[in-house]
Structures are given as structure tokens and as C-alpha cells.
Amino acid sequence: MKEPIIAFNQFTFKYHSQTEPTLHNIDATIYQGEKVLILGPSGSGKSTLVHCLNGLVPFSYKGKIEGELLINGQNTKDLDIFTISTMVGTVLQDTDGQFIGITVGEDLAFSLENEQVPQQEMKEIVQQVAELVEVEDHMNHATHELSGGQKQRVSLGGVMVDEKVDILLFDEPLANLDPATGQYAMDLIDRVHQETDKTIVMIEHRLEDALHIEFDRVIVMDEGKIVFNGKPNDLLASDVLEQVAIREPLYLKALKYADCPLHSQMQLADLTRLELSASNKTALQQWSIVQDDATQSFSENILEVHNLQFNYAENPILQNISFSIRQGEMVSIVGKNGAGKSTLSKLICGFEQMDSGEILLHGEDISNKTIFDRASKIGFVLQNPNHMITKHFIYDEIALGLINRGYDQAEIDKRVIHALKVFGLYPFRNWPISALSYGQKKRVTIASILVLEPSILILDEPTAGQDFRHYTEMMTFLQELNANGTTIMFITHDMHLMLEYTSRSIVLADGRLIADRSAVDVLTDDQVVVKANLKRTSLFDLAQKANAQDPKAFVHQFIAYDRKVRKRWL
């Protein structure tokens, strides 16, 4: 048995600002060299747990600790944050925000500089680590110019430079990464683990993507307590995930739909090694013959983009983009980090001016219209609600656009109150916005756009930073809006979101539109998947494994079936 490296003994923590403890009686031991995944919905205490491990609790976030937390046998109460950080290296979630150095080399060196390592020695260490995380060719590049995956590697390197660090802590490393880059990041973490035998602790709620590498153990948290602590296979065979509302891998859901009994000996955590019995296969094949839904029919085109071209500083950002959106559709825009997805939506809204091409709204060219004019027809919601909110109270925030458009008070009242009710915000109407949760703030921002009654709504990453429960709430809500006639487009990295909620996907790669097809078609077409840094859906692999006649049809049917099941929940 290996040495325990982290030990929580009856550990309870309460923030000074809160009345109830955030962590209750945590008992867990992590051993030297283990790879541990920590799952949990928001508010489950998993972020607090990370802060306890890296010393931000209690040194930056004050509170009261009961019980003990031992790292390398030392009680963290007797240590300071600097001592803890020589044992625990943290890779934060926000890769952009955590860079301190301006160039790659400098950022890698930051903790060495603080430890007063002489320059010559420092340069040697930085070079070695850069080779380990494969950024040695970018040493003089500015950190903000790197791609998402490169940023992730640099932040990992930045904590690896300190050789004494034996625990690597990852806080949602997959957030903000496109699926292919996410896989690559996981592979890198796995390789670093093999080469250095450091202990890996990772927090992540994208379970299916995290399981791309093999974890020794998964700890599931809910409401400040540990509800599961064991092998990934045991977790997947249990019903813990459903209880705490964590999204299970799609292939697992398919197995459940087909009534295949699950047990931990089936290698559920790794689809490539998944063992399907003959009866499982038959069940999947037969289930996949269920009749499909009739396809939706749509009326006229609401938005048309023809041969759009946009350059920035003489570099082509978008080239020759053409597509159309029909009334009542829900369409996703997907693609690599930096492929031009956000730029495309900004061009549609008039934030940027295209170099050539045409944008038609209801058949009318809007290329010369101002942002303000376009906004009464096209609503745009930013990813970060804090970028949009300018008022202190919910009512004022939602009414703002109407007031500026000169509506009379009675009409404003009517629309705002209606919106508050639709968005489930009516009980909070007199609250200050600062008292709302992230998801509620997001709703306020959508409401403030929707009161203008746009005919099309564009959302940038509507579910980013939200756990599965809030994700489902948000998407159900958007579906209802869509069913009531609002045409919706959203930008996303989330393959599940694209597959489960949108009828069609527009795929961008390197500034070009490379596919405009159903989400299922896109995610089963290897060529498109590779070009746009997406990931082939695990449903397809499962169907192949089960020797289904037509794997693609299997995926189609899964989606149709899943929609029906979810509708029953509404």
C-alpha cells in the first residue's frame, strides 16, 4: 500500500460569511501517485475542497475549520499558504486569468522567480518543463496569443517547475476547451502522471470527457458531503449520478434506455474496453429499430448570410460564409477555439463591419443598419452576465431597453412583468441583482433582451459554468421559448448540448464554414469532427460495438427517443 498523501479527518469548514458549514465531516484519504476525480453539482462544496487543499482556505477565504486536513502528514492548520503551495500545485479553471508572465517562458518561471532561483538555473528548469508540456517552441510568445490547448499546457507547466510539488490539483481543466483540445489536455495530464508519478486530483463535471483517461478513484460530493468514494466502474454501475444530478456519459444512457443491466465488471468507464454481452447487443439492436419521429418542418428563412468575408488587420478571419436560418429553428454554431464563432455573431449584430457579403433579415439587407436598429430584431446575449448588467435592480435592468426605445410606462410594465413571470423571476422582482445566483443573473440578461421581442436570439455559450441541473433548466427554458416561436442560435463547445437540443449545426473551422447539417450527421462524420476539433459521439461507437446495422440511424433514434423522454419530465 502506498503512503497517504492527503487525509481529511472529520473535516468541517464554515466560511465566516455563511451560517452553515460548506463542508461537513469529510473523511477521505488520497494516496501517493493516485489519480482522483472529484465530481459534484455547483454548491456541493467541491470548489471549497480545492481551496482547502491549496491553502486559499483559510488564508485568503477566511472561515472556521474543525477536524483536520493532513498533507504529507502535516496538519494544514500549522502551515502557511506558501508552504502548502510547495506541495500542492494548482491549475486554475480560468487559464486566461491566471497568467502573470507576459511570455510563455516568463510565466513558467514565475514561481521560480519568487523562490529566488538564480537566472541561469531558472532558465534550465524552465526549458526542461517546457519540453515536458510541449511548449518549448513558443517560449517567446505572448501568453494571450496562445490557443486554448497551449494555454492549458503553459498553466500546467507553471506549477510543474517546482520539483517539490507532489500533488497536482486541476480545477475544471476542460472548461472553455473545444472537445478535441480537451481530450488532448487529458492525455497530457495522463502522460505527466506516468512520467512523474505525481498525485493528480481533478475537479470536473464533464464526466464523459474526463473519463477519456483512467482514474483510480472518483469522489462524488453533494451538499458538502461525500456521497461516493470508489472506482469509476462502480460509480457508473450505481445510481449515484442520477441522484446528485451529474450528467452520465451518453453511451451509458443508451444502455439504460435499452434496458441493459449494468454492473461494474463491464468496464463501463472506458468505452473502448466496454464488454457487451450477446444479450446486451441484441437489446441495443432491437431498441434501435424503434420508429423515428416525423421531421420538423419550418416556414420561411428569417436570416440569410451570403458570402460573408471579414478581415482583421489584413488577416482573413471569416471567408465566404453562407447559411440561412429558418423561422422557429434552434441552431448551434460549433467549431474550434478561435474559429470565428463569436466574430460571426458580432457581425450579424453589427458590432463589427464585414468586408464583403450580405446579411438579410426577413429578406431585407441589414448591412447598413446600426447596432441599435438591428437589436430590435436580433437579440444577443453574452456568455458572461456580468458584462451585461448595468442596473442595481432586476426590474430596471429588464426595462432598460424598452425605456430607451421610448415605450410608454404601461407597455413597459406589461412586458417586464410578463417577462419576470416567464423567467421565474417574479418573486425576486424587487431584489438587487447582486443577490442573484449566476444562473439567475443569466436569466435576467436574457429577459432584458427578450422584452424587446426580437425575432431571433443569439446566445454565446448559454450553459457555460453551470452544472447539469442548471444546464437542464436553462435549456428547457430555451426550448420553451423556441416552441413559442423565437428562433434561437447559440454558440457552444458542448457536444451534448448540440446533439440533444439543436436540429442543425453550423460548423466553422479556421474561418470557413465546413458543414451545415444535422448535429447527428456532424458528430458522426470523422472528417468534419477532426477538422473542427470536435469529438465523435460515443453513441456512434457504442452502436458499432453492438454491431447495429446503421450506427448513424442509431444515434438519430437515441436523440429522438431522448427528447421524448425529456418531454415527459416537463
Binding site: Q98, G101, T103, E106, S111, E113, K123, T390
Partner: protein, 275 residues
């Protein structure tokens, strides 16, 4: 898509190759001369020298046109103000009065006043290129290291360089927020009346402040987790050792400094008097 208004500009030039410390010291010497002297001959030499050095840096006037226009506007304002408040400053300094044009009351236009204001303007023109060059050609990371080398706490050095680095990010945030607010009718463009425009800018500040506060929390956690502030001193990855050109530049600057001071104070007066 922020515009680089005042930040490091990557070029290959002899100025860029100098160590940040050298540039800081030269800049300090240069601006002390410009502040101390009113000697037109010294100012003219320095002005011509700064133009030569500026052209060596391969930074074009177009790169800095925005900042330049703002500075020139302030300079013009400054000149008008000097004349309004003290129209006979030149007369009292140079002790003679050559009137060009008889004005109302004390507002006579004299050659002495014009010459005095020319000197003031020259002082600006001597300092501006030097200050711009220091900021534009010193890599922000080296910037912190050089501040630290002349005895300023490394925490202040890093704070300054982080602040400089965040300017483009905050500009980008500002732009995004401004655009989104325009969709709701908060207009910041020239179409709106000035008072209303200022009010609208103020309302955008709230989201900008919140997003900046988020940023500060993340970065300060990140710094603390990587041992920032653990020791009284720290080493610098990007500090450059002083090389031959640095010593050469430093020696020339010190010599020039002494010569300039000698010429200025030779006759016991900071002013050169042609009258």
C-alpha cells in the same frame, strides 16, 4: 480586437536591444535635464537627438498618432493657459520688452513671451519622445525588473507591469460591453448629445468594474498560489545583464547630462537670453 494605444511594440532595433535598466536611467537623466534647463541651445540639441533616437527605434509616428494627438492638444491648452495667466512672464525673465502687438491691458504680445513659451514647448518635445520610447520599447516584464533594480519594491514593479498589461484586456471588455449596451439603446457614439453620452459611459462602468474585480481576484489567487510575496527579494527571468552597448549608452548619457548642466548653469542662470 483592442487597439494598442500605449504598450510595448515589438521591433528589431538597437533601442529595443538595450536593457530596460539602461533605458530607465537614460530616461530619468534625460527628463531631469529637460526639467532643469531653459537653455534653448541645450533643448534644441536634445530635441534633435530625440528625433534621431526615435527614428532608430523603428516606431513610426502612425503607431502612436492617437497618444500624440492627445499630448499635443494638452500642450496647446497649456500654452494658451500660460499666456492667459501670465502674459508677461517672458518680460520679467529676460528683462527686456519687444512688443509685437499692443493688446488690452497687460495682454501685450512680446517676443520675450513667445520665446519663453517656445522654450516650454521645446521641453515637452524633448521629454515626450523619450517617455514614449521608454514605454514602447521596454518589454513590460523587463520594465518591472528594471524598476526593481533601481531600488523600487518588486511588488510595485509587478503591479505596474500587470496594470500595463491589463490595459488591452480592459479595452476589449469595454468595447464588448459598450457594443452590447448599444443594442439596448445606450449609445456612446457621436449621434448622442454630450451630456447623455457621458451618462451612458458612466452606466457602462458598473459592469466594467465588476468584471475587473473578478479578474483581480483570480490573478491575486494565482499569484499567491505560486509563492508571490514569500520572500523580500525575487529573481527575474527576463532581466537582461548590462552589455557593452548599455555601458556605452550610460556613459554617453552621463557625459551629456554633465555637459548640458554646465552649459545651462555656466552663466549662473537657467535661461538663455538672446535679447
Amino acid at each position: 480586437m483592442a487597439v494598442n494605444i500605449l504598450g510595448y511594440m515589438e521591433r528589431t532595433s538597437p533601442i529595443h536591444r538595450l536593457s530596460g535598466l539602461t533605458k530607465l536611467i537614460v530616461f530619468l537623466l534625460w527628463s531631469s535635464v529637460a526639467m532643469l534647463t531653459y537653455d534653448t541651445r541645450v533643448l534644441c540639441v536634445l530635441f534633435i537627438a530625440s528625433l534621431v533616437i526615435f527614428s532608430l527605434s523603428k516606431i513610426s509616428v502612425r503607431d502612436i498618432s492617437f497618444v500624440l494627438i492627445i499630448i499635443l492638444a494638452f500642450l496647446a491648452l497649456n500654452n494658451v493657459a500660460i499666456y492667459l495667466f501670465s502674459p508677461s512672464e517672458g518680460v520679467s525673465i529676460y528683462g527686456t520688452s519687444h512688443v509685437i502687438w499692443e493688446g488690452i491691458g497687460r495682454y501685450n504680445l512680446t517676443w520675450e513671451q513667445l520665446f519663453y513659451q517656445l522654450n516650454i514647448t521645446l521641453k515637452y518635445f524633448v521629454v515626450i519622445p523619450a517617455a514614449l520610447l521608454f514605454i514602447l520599447t521596454t518589454h513590460p516584464s523587463e520594465f518591472a525588473a528594471s524598476l526593481n533594480k533601481i531600488g523600487i519594491s518588486y511588488k510595485i514593479g509587478i503591479a505596474v507591469s500587470l496594470a500595463l498589461r491589463y490595459i488591452p484586456d480592459i479595452q476589449r471588455d469595454f468595447r464588448t460591453i459598450a457594443q452590447v449596451q448599444q443594442t439596448r439603446g445606450i449609445d456612446l457614439s457621436k449621434n448622442e448629445k454630450l451630456i447623455k453620452r457621458l451618462k451612458n459611459v458612466a452606466s457602462i462602468m458598473l459592469p466594467l468594474i465588476f468584471s475587473s474585480l473578478d479578474r483581480i481576484e483570480v490573478i491575486s489567487n494565482a499569484m499567491e498560489l505560486r509563492s508571490f510575496g514569500k520572500h523580500k527579494k525575487r529573481t527575474w527571468y527576463s532581466a537582461r545583464p548590462l552589455l557593452k552597448p548599455d555601458f556605452f549608452t550610460l556613459i554617453i548619457s552621463v557625459v551629456l547630462f554633465i555637459v548640458a548642466m554646465l552649459v545651462t548653469f555656466y552663466d549662473g542662470n537657467r535661461f538663455y537670453n538672446p535679447f
